[in-house]
Subunit: 333 residues, 2 copies
Amino acid sequence: MSDRADQFGCDFRPHFKTHQSHEIGRWIRSAGVNGITVSSVSMGHYFSEDGWDDITIAFPFYRGMLPELIELEKQASLRLFLHQPGQVALLDKELSNPFKFYIEIDAGYGRSGIKHDDYNSIDEIIRASEAAKHCQFHGFYIHDGGTYSARNREEIRHSIEASLDALLKLKEAYPQAKISLGDTPSASISDDLSQLDELTPGNFVFYDWMQVQIGSCTYDDPALFAILPIAQQISPDKAIVHGGAVHLSKDTIIQNNVRTFGQAVMFGDKQTNPIEGSFLSALSQEHGTLSGFMPRQMKDYVVICPIHSCLTANLFTYFVTPSGKRIEKRIGS
Amino acid sequence: MSDRADQFGCDFRPHFKTHQSHEIGRWIRSAGVNGITVSSVSMGHYFSEDGWDDITIAFPFYRGMLPELIELEKQASLRLFLHQPGQVALLDKELSNPFKFYIEIDAGYGRSGIKHDDYNSIDEIIRASEAAKHCQFHGFYIHDGGTYSARNREEIRHSIEASLDALLKLKEAYPQAKISLGDTPSASISDDLSQLDELTPGNFVFYDWMQVQIGSCTYDDPALFAILPIAQQISPDKAIVHGGAVHLSKDTIIQNNVRTFGQAVMFGDKQTNPIEGSFLSALSQEHGTLSGFMPRQMKDYVVICPIHSCLTANLFTYFVTPSGKRIEKRIGS
């Protein structure tokens, strides 16, 4: 992903919410990354403790963040998401060091951000920053969650068009602004993102079964798995495994008209292969129901590729590599 | 709940997977409870560290549990869930202290357990235990998750009938067996459970919005809430809050044909009141979308009654009481 960002001439500021691990962060630092993106101030603190000093808090600013931000600005240069002129004035007063901010744009996904054509609001915020001492408008950011409903490369490309258009129009109106895009599908497969200034994908570090279905990666790319003990064989095509919502979270994907909570895979010598028709069909707190084809080798445990690796990783207190090495991570939300 | 168990003459062995907290466990101990139920061996270890020495591991036994069980039996009398005669022989050999076991029964819910009318399998397991040294057959256990689809007291009563019938028939066939039931809805509202020997509900310790909808409790009963900062007002009836899947998990309930990830409530002097039509309509990793009516008092934060308190509690590293006291809990799965 770092190479792709280089190829497009984009600044690569990956989102670290997926792994939440100092050690994995260091792997990424060794690829030349200096600036990172996180989804909460406390996650920012966690990474500043490991020496990261250029951190974007990719969540709409609210007043309750202030006490933690005042601590964090002592350790790191901050980039914040502001959506009201009053926030510019407040932070200019409360923070002591220079900081940058993005205006998050909603180009149709409909989560957070200012509507892409609401120039009045955008103008007001930027004007407020021109009077400020510490605070510098940096650019526009879009997380296009719409690409998550794509199911092939063509649909990803199509789905991202509205976001790209919005960012390019904004850049025309505000030529000093950097434009930044955050989703893993388009960062993974777009042929050309060279019009963007920054890329901030996060999920790519592990990928997952949803990204395979979207078309962001192949089934050999995911790098996070849950190895679940098989506890009780109910019938030839149904077993209870020790792996529930407290291990995998409950994100699902509909595949062949069936709701799936995780895909069974087999580790091969050279690649990981999905076991066709073998998946988690239900989860309660600790129980998972494994359904479908169960090859003979699948006796004591099943390897599950999670639907949404960000949420699965968040539920564990550490990772283990294939060679048995334990990788620590952040605990708690 | 302890009073209800007394009233029915049942042994009360509550499930501790909902709170996962030493301190809350002590409140329950002070009500006279001695035996508890947990959903994993590591959760059993956590509670044995606080002096609990009579612990049911309410999850189908599998061989991978053994190393941890061998440690745990040094601290606590165990009750296990066995479903194969070979497991009786294995544990009789591997464990050093006497232990009891349940045969978990599936009376139609279709998760784990042996089918209620599969007398061959049941006979085989019990016969195996008669030859064993350490191992004593204790009784039959049903978790009737079917009550979770009920939407009033009548439906809960109706939904539990198959489970009660199955347990009573098994008791007729095996008069020495204790019969044990695990779900919160029927433990909360059934008029008479005196035919049962044991009650093991767990969720009742907090209840949640799903239990309100089921009819297990009223909207004033839930005791676990997430207080979420309001980050960005998108429109008069839509706001982004800092509270996502890493805080609430993603269990949902359909209410008035709309999928709900959490219900907004208002703390009153005497009771907690739901704010009609105000709820979380979407969750991503850190973002929640609050939809509907937002009273003027709801400015900086919203109080959310979670859909499924077990999963929400599991995601936090501690609780805070209304008076500001911090209550520690178990971390990790």
